[in-house]
C-alpha cells in the first residue's frame, strides 16, 4: 500500500522534522567522508581532499535543499513560515490587531450565538427514531384561515380510510388530580389512544403501553407514568409497575413508565391515561377539541399523504354534514412546532449576517491601508524571487490567521452570549426536545466555516491589490497619488458607503421593532390584568350538580376572604391561547340542523367574572345568583357579537340557541366590552358567555381580583379551596400580569436583540468612516501642510476633510433609507401598531446615524486642521 507508506513518511517529516533533518545531515556527511577518503587514497592531502570533495558535491546545503524538495513538503514548510510571519506581524501592530480581532470577534460571535439557537430550534431533529416521518393532523374549517382541532369521528374515519400512515393517535390533555401525602395536586396528563407510543417510535422505560382493548369504552383504570413524574412522585422506584396512583375518583393501576424525553407536542406529560372512543358514538367524548399525531409509512412522502387526505376529506364532507367544507391539514411535526419561531430566527440570522459583513468591510479597508504601508516590504520579497501567487498566498494566510484568532475570540463571546440569551428568552422560543440550547459541535463547525469564508472575503481583494508591486518600490521612493492609489481610494469609499447603508437598514428595523414593543406594552386588552390571580381547577368526572355546587361553594369562601374584591371562574383564560367555539342559531332559525348553524367563540364563566376581570358591562346586567340550573337560560354576549348579529338593533332581550348549552333558547341579558382573548394583537371575535351554573364544564380557572398585591393572597385562596374540598387539586397560581408578560417576552427579545446588533453595526460603520478619513489625512499630511503654508485657513482644511466624510455619510444614508424602504415587507410580520414605512422611525434612525457618523468624521478632520505646516513639509 504505497499511499500508506507515503503518508507515513510525510507525517514523519512533519512531526519529527528535527530528526529527519539530522538524518539527512548524517547521510550526506557519510557520503562526503567516503568521497574524501577516496581522494586521500588517490594521494591528496586530507585538507585538499575534503575541499575537493565538497566542491564535487556542490555544497551540502544545496543538496539538502534538493532532498527536501524531493520529499515534496515544500508547501507545508512555506505555510508554516507564513503563519509564524503573520503572527509576528500582528504582534508588531497591536492597534490594528486589536481593532481587527475585536470586530471579527463581535461579528463571528454574534453569528455563532444566533446559529446556536437556529440549530437547537430549527435544525436539530426531534429525538425520536425516524422523526422526519412524524406528522400532525388538524382540520381546516371552510373559509377561515388557520386550523382547528380534530373531531373524534373524523379521527376514526381517517384511521379506517387512510393508507399513508403507519399509525395515528388521538390525544387530549386535561389535567389530572392526584392525591399525595401532602394533599391534592394537579398534574399534566395526556389522554391518548393506544397507538401513541407507536407513533413516536418509542417503547416504555418500564412495563407496557396501552392495548387497543383499553381504548374501547369500558372501565380501564390504568395509567402510564411520565418519566420525570415517576422520579419525582415515586422516587424512581424500580418496582413501580403494579402499584396504584391515588386520584380523586379512586386509584389507577400503574402499568408502565414512559421513556425520558418524550414530549407530546411541547409538553412533557406527568401521566398518560387511555382515551376510550366508542366507535358507535365518537362525539360522546367531545367535538373538535383533540390533537392528532401520526407516523408516515416508510416511503410515503408528506405530499402524497396530503393528497390522500384531501381525497378522504372530500369523501367525509359528502358523508357527514358537520364536515361540509372542512379540509385536512397535514404537517411535519417538527415544522409545526417551530412555525412561530422560524421567521424570527431567520430575521435574526439576516441581522447578524449583516453585522458580520459590515465588520468584514471594515477589515478589508484596514487591510488595504496596511497593504499600501507594507509595499516596500512586499517589493523586497518580490525582488528576491517570490511570485505574485506566493505573495497573495502569504497575505491570504495572514487573513486566515486573523480570522482564526477572531473566530476563537468569537466562540468565547458566543458561549457567554448563548447563556445570556437563553436566560433572556426563557422558553419563548419553542424547542421540540428538552435538551438545553448550548454550543454543540455543529456550532463549532459553523464558526470554522464562517471564519474561513470571512477571511477569504475580506482578505482576497486587498491581497490581490497589495501584491501588485514593482521591485523598484523597494528602493523606498514614496509613490504618492498614483492611479492605483486613487482606484483603491474609490473602492474603499464605495465600501464605506455600503456599510453605512447596511447600518442604516438595521437601525430602521430596530426602531420599528422598538416602537412595536412599546405599542404592545400599552395595548388595551379589554380587561384589567393588574391585581388578579388565577389558578387552574380541574373538576373531574363529577355529575353536573356537584360541579355547579363545588364552584358555588368555592366562590362563596373566596369572596369572603379579606382583600378579595371579586372571584369567579372561566374555562379558558384570555391570553392562554385556548378558546372554544360552538354553533348557535338565532331565534327563529331552523334549529337542530348542524349544517346551518353559525359559529361563534364562547367562554364558560361563573357569576362575577366581569367584575373579577375588570371587563365593563355596556348594556344590561351581569350574571348573578338568580341564574341557576333549571331557571331561564341566560347568556351574555360581547359587543362584537351584538354588532355582527344584531346590527343597529338591541341585542338585549333577544334569544339565541347555543349548541353547547343543550340547545335551549337563552336570553341575552347583557352586552360586555370586547376582550382580546387570543393574544395581545388579536382582534376581538364575537363571543357568547355561558354561565357555569347552567352549563357546567370540567376545566375551570379561578380568577380572583384582589386589593393590592395579588400573589400574596394565593395561599389564602388555596386554603379556602382546601376547606371546601380537600381532594380538589389546584394548579400553580399565576397572575394575569404574568400571562401578559409571557406574551411580551418575544417582542421584547426581538426589539432588544435587533437594537443591540444595530448599535454594533452603527459603531462599526462609524469606525469605518473614521478609519477612511483618518487614513486620507495621514496620506495627505504633506499636501495639507502645503495648503496651510500657502495661506489656507484651518477652518478651510477642516471643512474640506469633514466634507469628504459628510458626503460619504449622506450618500450612505440615502442608499440605506431606500434599501430599508425596499425591504420593509420583510419585517412587516413582526410589527404591531406601526407600519413598515413609518416615516418617523426612518427620520429618527437617519438622524441618529448621521450624528454618530459626522462625529466620527469630525475627529480626523479636526486633526487635519491642526497639522503643523513646518513638520508636514519637512518629511517626505
Amino acid at each position: 500500500m504505497r499511499w500508506a507508506t507515503k503518508l507515513r513518511l510525510r507525517l514523519r517529516s512533519l512531526l519529527q522534522g528535527g530528526r529527519v533533518e539530522a538524518e539527512l545531515d548524517e547521510e550526506l556527511r557519510f557520503h562526503l567522508d567516503r568521497l574524501t577518503e577516496e581522494h586521500v587514497a588517490a594521494g591528496q592531502a586530507p585538507a585538499d581532499a575534503r575541499r575537493a570533495a565538497l566542491r564535487e558535491m556542490g555544497g551540502l546545503d544545496q543538496r539538502k535543499e534538493e532532498c527536501r524538495d524531493a520529499r515534496g513538503l515544500a508547501l507545508f514548510d512555506e505555510l508554516r513560515q507564513d503563519v509564524s510571519y503573520a503572527l509576528r506581524g500582528l504582534r508588531k501592530s497591536p492597534g490594528f490587531a486589536t481593532v481587527a480581532m475585536l470586530s471579527l470577534a463581535l461579528g463571528i460571535g454574534a453569528n455563532t450565538t444566533i446559529f446556536t439557537f437556529v440549530n437547537a430550534v430549527l435544525l436539530r431533529p426531534l429525538p425520536y427514531p425516524g422523526s422526519d416521518r412524524l406528522v400532525v393532523l388538524r382540520e381546516r374549517p371552510p373559509g377561515a384561515e388557520g386550523t382547528v382541532s380534530v373531531h373524534p369521528l373524523n379521527f376514526l374515519e381517517w384511521r379506517a380510510r387512510a393508507r399513508s400512515f403507519e399509525a395515528l393517535a388521538l390525544v387530549q390533555a386535561p389535567p389530572l388530580n392526584v392525591i399525595g401525602a401532602d394533599g391534592a395536586e394537579q398534574i399534566a396528563r395526556v389522554q391518548a389512544t393506544s397507538e401513541l407510543f407507536r407513533v413516536f417510535g418509542v417503547g416504555p422505560a418500564r412495563g407496557r403501553v396501552f392495548t387497543p382493548e383499553e381504548t374501547r369504552p369500558g372501565s380501564h383504570d390504568v395509567v402510564i407514568l411520565g418519566y420525570g413524574f415517576w422520579q419525582r412522585w415515586f422516587g424512581g422506584d424500580p418496582a413501580v409497575v403494579g402499584r396504584r396512583l391515588a386520584v380523586r375518583e379512586g386509584a389507577l393501576t400503574i402499568i408502565g413508565v414512559a421513556p425520558p424525553g418524550l414530549r407530546i407536542g411541547l409538553m412533557e406529560p406527568d401521566a398518560y391515561t387511555p382515551l376510550p372512543i366508542d366507535p358507535a358514538k365518537p362525539a360522546s367524548i367531545g367535538s373538535r377539541s383533540f390533537q392528532c399525531y401520526g407516523r408516515l409509512k416508510p416511503g410515503v412522502s408528506l405530499d402524497a399523504a396530503r393528497a390522500e387526505m384531501a381525497v378522504v376529506a372530500s369523501a367525509l364532507a359528502r358523508q357527514y354534514p358537520m364536515d361540509e367544507g372542512y379540509g385536512v391539514f397535514v404537517s411535519g411535526l417538527h415544522e409545526y412546532l417551530v412555525r412561530e419561531g422560524r421567521p424570527a430566527l431567520r430575521l435574526l440570522m439576516a441581522v447578524v449576517a449583516t453585522v458580520l459583513v459590515i465588520a468584514c468591510v471594515n477589515l478589508a479597508g484596514l487591510l488595504t491601508a496596511r497593504g499600501i504601508r507594507r509595499r516596500g516590504e512586499l517589493a523586497v520579497r518580490a525582488s528576491l524571487g517570490a511570485s505574485r501567487g506566493r505573495l497573495v498566498r502569504q497575505l491570504i494566510i495572514e487573513s486566515l490567521v486573523l480570522s482564526s484568532l477572531g473566530g476563537a475570540a468569537g466562540l468565547v463571546l458566543a458561549y457567554w452570549g448563548t447563556l445570556a440569551l437563553v436566560t433572556l428568552t426563557a422558553g419563548a422560543l419553542n424547542v421540540g426536545s428538552i435538551e438545553p440550547i448550548r454550543l454543540e459541535s455543529t456550532c463549532l463547525v459553523f464558526t470554522l466555516v464562517i471564519s474561513t469564508v470571512t477571511a477569504l472575503v475580506f482578505g482576497l481583494l486587498p491581497a490581490w491589490q497589495a501584491s501588485r508591486v514593482e521591485p523598484q518600490m523597494a528602493l523606498g521612493e514614496r509613490t504618492r497619488g498614483g492611479t492605483a492609489d486613487r482606484q483603491q481610494h474609490r473602492m474603499r469609499s464605495a465600501l464605506v458607503v455600503t456599510e453605512v447603508a447596511m447600518a442604516v437598514v438595521l437601525l430602521v428595523g430596530a426602531g420599528l421593532l422598538l416602537r412595536t414593543f412599546s405599542r404592545l406594552v400599552r395595548v388595551d386588552l379589554g380587561f384589567q390584568p393588574a391585581e388578579t390571580i388565577t389558578m387552574g381547577l380541574f373538576l373531574g368526572a363529577r355529575p353536573p350538580e356537584a360541579r355547579v355546587s363545588l364552584v358555588d361553594q368555592i366562590l362563596e369562601r373566596v369572596e369572603a376572604l379579606p382583600g378579595v374584591k371579586a372571584a369567579s371562574t372561566i374555562q379558558f383564560l384570555p391570553l392562554t391561547g385556548m378558546n372554544c367555539g360552538t354553533g348557535f342559531w338565532l331565534e327563529g332559525q331552523p334549529r337542530g340542523d348542524a349544517s346551518h348553524a353559525s359559529t361563534t367563540e364562547c367562554s364558560l364563566v361563573s357569576r362575577g367574572y366581569f367584575a373579577a376581570m375588570g371587563i365593563p358591562i355596556l348594556e344590561g346586567r351581569t350574571f348573578d345568583r338568580r341564574d341557576r340550573m333549571g331557571g331561564p337560560r341566560v347568556v351574555i354576549v360581547n359587543q362584537s357579537f351584538a354588532r355582527r348579529y344584531f346590527p343597529g338593533g338591541r341585542a338585549l332581550g333577544r334569544r339565541i340557541l347555543v349548541a353547547w348549552s343543550d340547545e335551549v333558547l337563552a336570553e341575552i341579558v347583557g352586552v360586555a366590552g370586547d376582550v382580546r382573548h387570543n393574544g395581545l394583537t388579536s382582534e376581538p371575535a364575537p363571543t357568547v358567555f355561558l354561565l357555569h351554573a347552567q352549563t357546567p364544564g370540567y376545566i375551570t380557572t379561578l380568577v380572583v381580583r384582589t386589593a393590592g398585591d395579588a400573589s400574596a393572597r394565593a395561599a389564602a385562596v388555596r386554603q379556602a379551596i382546601h376547606d371546601v374540598d380537600p381532594t380538589q387539586a389546584v394548579s400553580a397560581a399565576k397572575t394575569m400580569e404574568q400571562y401578559v408578560g409571557d406574551l411580551l417576552t418575544r417582542p421584547r427579545m426581538y426589539a432588544a436583540l435587533v437594537a443591540f446588533f444595530a448599535l454594533i453595526a452603527v459603531i462599526l460603520a462609524a469606525v469605518g468612516i473614521y478609519g477612511l478619513i483618518a487614513y486620507v489625512v495621514t496620506q495627505r499630511t504633506h499636501e495639507i501642510g502645503i495648503r496651510l503654508a500657502l495661506g489656507a485657513s484651518r477652518r478651510d482644511v477642516f471643512r474640506a476633510t469633514f466634507g469628504q466624510g459628510a458626503r460619504l455619510t449622506f450618500i450612505g444614508l440615502v442608499l440605506g433609507v431606500v434599501a430599508a424602504w425596499g425591504l420593509r415587507g420583510v419585517v412587516a410580520t413582526f410589527l404591531f401598531g406601526v407600519t413598515p414605512g413609518d416615516p418617523l422611525t426612518y427620520v429618527f434612525a437617519a438622524a441618529v446615524f448621521a450624528a454618530v457618523a459626522l462625529a466620527a468624521a469630525a475627529i480626523p478632520a479636526h486633526r487635519a486642521s491642526r497639522v503643523d505646516p513646518t513638520t508636514a513639509l519637512r518629511y517626505e
Partner: protein
C-alpha cells in the same frame, strides 16, 4: 503517480533501482556500484544522487533503514520494496524497447 521526468532523470532512477535490487546498500555504495557495473562509463553526479534516492523513497519504491556500514559507521541503507520491484521490471522493459528503437534509427541512418 510519477511526475513527468525528463529522460536523464528517468534513467538515473532505473539505474538506482537496478543496483539496489541486487542487495540493500547506502548511497555511496550505489554510486560506486553503478560506476563499476558500467565499466567506469557512468559516474553519477554527486548532486543528483541523493535527491533521486529521496524521491524514490517518497514514491514508495525503495525503503530506508539505518545500519552499520563496512567501516563500522552508521549509514542509511536502501532496499527495494515490492512496488519498487514491479516498477523496476516495467522501467527495464520500457528501456529495452526504447533503446532498441533508437538503435534501429541510428544504425539505419
Amino acid at each position: 503517480m510519477s511526475k513527468p521526468t525528463d529522460l536523464v532523470q528517468g534513467t538515473l532512477d532505473l539505474l538506482i533501482l537496478r543496483v539496489i535490487a541486487l542487495e540493500p546498500m547506502h548511497g555511496w555504495a550505489v554510486a560506486q556500484r553503478i560506476r563499476q557495473m558500467s565499466n567506469d562509463e557512468l559516474r553519477v553526479g554527486q548532486g543528483s544522487l541523493y535527491p533521486a534516492l529521496h524521491r524514490l523513497e517518497q514514491q514508495g519504491w525503495i525503503e530506508a533503514e539505518w545500519g552499520e556500514s563496512e567501516n563500522n559507521r552508521r549509514a542509511k541503507f536502501y532496499s527495494l520494496t515490492r512496488a519498487g520491484r514491479k516498477a523496476l521490471e516495467k522501467e527495464s522493459a520500457q528501456w529495452e524497447r526504447l533503446s532498441a528503437a533508437i538503435s534501429l534509427v541510428v544504425r539505419r541512418a
